[in-house]
């Protein structure tokens, strides 16, 4: 039977490694997604072409094989190797970032053309329009698909176990070899991934509510809290407005 000792000795560090791989590869994915996704809306065809090429290549590549390639082929070619954790993180981040870029591109494309025109009419530069108008409006639309992708990424982190990164899947496999008890171990793993995924979903929901409030769309919950928070500053703003009006 699985002992508590084994859980604290192998599973807990495994969970910690899984979380690390998840956080690092999610950050890398987000970076890749925003950069590549934005470049795919560029007005220069060559930029669009290069970013689109990246998207097509990494979308079409198996993250697992890419991980093997990073872990086992790169050392042979360069005579130098990544720490396994970084091979896994890079492979996951670059691959899932390609999927993410499609989310960013799609959300940017869904911002009404009228917003771009209003930005031009106020003489904002392209970069200012992107940063101050288009991306902030596209952001709430990105969060639900990003949540899906993040959960896919969480489950994808189990791939790093095959390049000997001691994540929680690796710990589970190790335990199975030692104790030859597949059923409880894999059930535990399923539950653990589910719990992590559930926590991520809750976090992303919170983020989505805040993001929607930030474009003036009332959040479905916590309305009372928000209005309580807003009204005093609203009143003080009115008072100071009247003051300025009196002076002007």
């Amino acid at each position: 039977m699985m002992t508590w000792d084994f859980f604290t000795e192998w599973f807990l560090p495994g969970i910690w490694i899984t979380i690390q791989v998840l956080v690092y590869s999610a950050l890398l994915s987000a970076l890749v997604a925003f950069v590549v996704g934005t470049l795919r809306t560029s007005r220069f065809w060559i930029v669009r072409f290069l970013a689109g090429t990246y998207f097509e290549i990494f979308r079409g590549m198996s993250a697992l094989i890419f991980m093997f390639w990073m872990a086992f082929a790169v050392p042979l070619m360069l005579g130098w190797q990544f720490v396994p954790l970084w091979s896994g993180t890079l492979a996951l981040g670059l691959t899932y970032g390609a999927y993410g870029s499609e989310i960013v591109r799609g959300a940017l494309a869904a911002v009404p053309a009228a917003q771009r025109e209003a930005g031009i009419a106020l003489s904002f530069t392209r970069w200012q329009r992107l940063r101050r108008i288009e991306l902030p409006q596209a952001w709430p639309e990105m969060i639900p698909p990003f949540n899906n992708l993040l959960i896919e990424l969480l489950k994808g982190t189990s791939l790093v176990s095959v390049i000997a990164v001691a994540d929680m899947t690796f710990a589970g496999n190790l335990l199975r070899l030692a104790k030859n008890e597949s059923a409880p171990i894999y059930t535990l793993l399923l539950v653990l991934y589910f719990i992590l995924a559930f926590i991520l979903t809750r976090l992303m929901r919170m983020l989505e509510r805040r993001a929607k409030a930030g474009v003036g769309r009332a959040p479905e919950k916590k309305n009372g809290l928000l209005s309580r928070k807003l009204s005093p500053s609203g009143e003080s703003m009115q008072a100071s407005t009247q003051g300025a009006g009196g002076l002007g």
């Binding site: 009228a114 917003q115 025109e117 209003a118 031009i120 009419a121 106020l122 003489s123 904002f124 530069t125 392209r126 200012q128 101050r132 108008i133 902030p136 409006q137 930030g214 474009v215 003036g216 769309r217 807003l230 500053s233 609203g234 703003m237 009115q238 407005t241 009247q242 300025a244 009006g245 002007g248």
Partner: protein, 269 residues
């Protein structure tokens, strides 16, 4: 309207001089000729209304001035500077983005659908461009925004998002936002067409007020003929991409020379 013979404007125009000039401007969308070899000019401080059936090219003129579309041929000058061209070695060449932005800073636009930024509260909608485009200090921009909100009668909504405002209120914020850039020219593109009928009067009153109390030049596309009659110095009647008639509102609305103008006015009045 005037057809000034001299086209050299070396000195910055003073009041009454030519501020906008279209020379042989043609614009096509596919096979459809929207503007056909158009020439006209607008003097500084004038309020000009463009009327005509839909598809006659009125809105395209505003969108050209706002550089939302480019002309196929011809030149447009604002304040003596070419809008889409730069002179290099005595030759006119397509202008770079920075040149276009500099010339465009003289022009503000109010849209039919308001187009406020939904991710910014009313205050930031108004201050964002003065601060980040003109480099105005934030305090100064906010003071100016409060003055403008007082002008448009919306001081109590300063801390709201656009979605929390009615259409009429949104349009008045949009007017304040355009004025915050202190443009020489204000383009009004059917600004009351998307409003509920009972909200139209408030917005038109505000624009009358602005027309009377400021020296801003206005180009106005509208179907509100009473409003056009009140504020316009000149009315341009468009049909099929050409100006078929122009003159003071009393003349155009009461005794138009062209049969087509009369038809159009009969149809909408």
């Amino acid at each position: 309207m005037s057809t000034t013979p001299d086209s050299t404007t070396e000195n910055p125009p003073v009041d009454g001089s030519e501020l906008i000039r279209f020379d042989n401007v043609t614009k096509r969308f596919g096979d459809n000729v929207v503007l056909d070899d158009l020439c006209f000019d607008v003097s500084s401080g004038k309020h000009v209304t463009l009327i005509g059936p839909s598809g006659s090219g009125k809105t395209t003129i505003l969108r050209l001035l706002m550089t939302l579309v480019e002309p196929d041929s011809g030149t447009i000058k604002v304040n003596g500077d070419h809008l889409f061209h730069e002179e290099r070695n005595g030759k006119l060449e397509p202008a770079g983005e920075n040149h276009i932005r500099e010339v465009r800073k003289n022009i503000g636009m109010v849209f039919q659908q308001f187009n406020l930024f939904p991710n910014m509260k009313v205050m930031r909608n108004i201050t964002e461009a003065p601060v980040h485009v003109l480099g105005m200090a934030k305090d100064e921009a906010e003071t100016r925004a409060r003055e403008l909100l007082e002008l448009v009668g919306l001081t109590e909504h300063i801390d709201k998002y656009p979605t929390q405002l009615s259409g009429g209120q949104q349009q008045r914020v949009a007017i304040a936002r355009a004025l915050a850039m202190r443009p020489q020219v204000l383009l009004l593109d059917e600004v009351t067409s998307a409003l509920d009928p009972e909200l139209v009067a408030g917005v038109l009153d505000l624009l009358r007020d602005i027309a009377q109390t400021t020296d801003i030049t206005m180009l106005c596309v509208t179907h509100e003929m009473n409003f056009a009659r009140d504020i316009s110095d000149d009315v341009l009647m468009f049909d099929a991409g050409k100006i078929i008639e122009s003159g003071p509102p009393e003349k155009i609305f009461s005794e138009p020379e062209q049969e087509r103008t009369q038809q159009f006015l009969n149809a909408i009045l």
